[in-house]
Amino acid sequence: MNASDPNLAESERNESWTPLLKLASREVFELMLSSSLGVPPEVLTDQVLDITAMVGLAGHVCGIMTLRCTSQSAALMASKMLGVDVADAGPEMWDAVGEVCNMIAGNFKNKVTGMGDTCMLSVPTVITGADYSLHAPADSGKIQITLLFEESPLIISLEVND
């Protein structure tokens, strides 16, 4: 099955892409941060996910991948990537979380048959703050996964514009 086929039914696509997105995310954290992502509990603790990294996809498949996390998680990502204390990693956290989102997007598209060569990635953009809405086109489909990074949730979403 060519999972990047735009005619693939949304439910079929979600079914085949969701495990690939989880695998792509786990690989990035294991290889680049030496960190295993956990499975979240059914009820998440109330934490404000105030950092959002976004990477655009354009070509055969168009859409946007987002990674949302707390600012503490973003600083911890930078700390683990750079091998420095969290207190010293703060200024690099936006760059780090953007690069993590970029690597997840790239790793994901390389796992979807036919998507690697036909879909380009944008450079990442990072938003600070939680009080915003992302408005995708009405006909877009969305897959979303939640994973735990050092006890804090990460929400990784892919909105596809068909």
Binding site: E27, V28, L31, M32, A78, M81, L82, G83, E92, D95, A96, G98, E99, N102, M103, A105, G106, N107, N110, G116, D117, M120, L121, S122, V123
Partner: protein, 128 residues
């Protein structure tokens, strides 16, 4: 192996530091590291001095990595310097494009220090 100078071209400062650390972990003795945030800055950095190795991302603003590699032969200190791409663009098509443009190696992100070692050491040794 003698000490070498390296140019790392990536729009992520975090990634530039990870690449430098990976090179040192590979046992490469580095005398000087030049950093650039895109291809145009990379070409400008070469005017500051000669380098023995370039590691370069593909997706960058202003000038991407493929354009940078194609431009190397036309700038001072650029001709003949081996380039290894380090990028999220991991498809066969991108690898072929990069090698056709003049890159000598290709590492997909995410990567391990061991992968950097396995790809960079043969390039430094002049092996195809």
């Amino acid at each position: 192996m003698d000490k070498i100078s390296v140019l790392i071209v990536d729009d992520s400062s975090v990634m530039r530091k990870i690449v430098e650390r990976s090179l040192r972990q590979a046992g490469i003795d580095i005398e000087q590291v030049f950093e650039a945030g895109n291809g145009a800055e990379g070409l400008a950095a070469l005017s500051q001095g000669k380098v023995d190795l370039i590691l370069c991302d593909i997706n960058m603003p202003v000038m991407d990595g493929l354009e940078f590699v194609k431009s190397l032969s036309g700038v001072e200190n650029g001709k003949g310097v081996p380039v290894v791409m380090i990028t999220t663009e991991g498809s066969e098509g991108h690898v072929v494009q990069a090698l056709s443009a003049g890159a000598r190696g290709y590492i997909r992100k995410p990567f391990t220090p061991q992968q950097v070692k396995e790809h960079v050491l043969p390039v430094l040794a002049g092996k195809p």
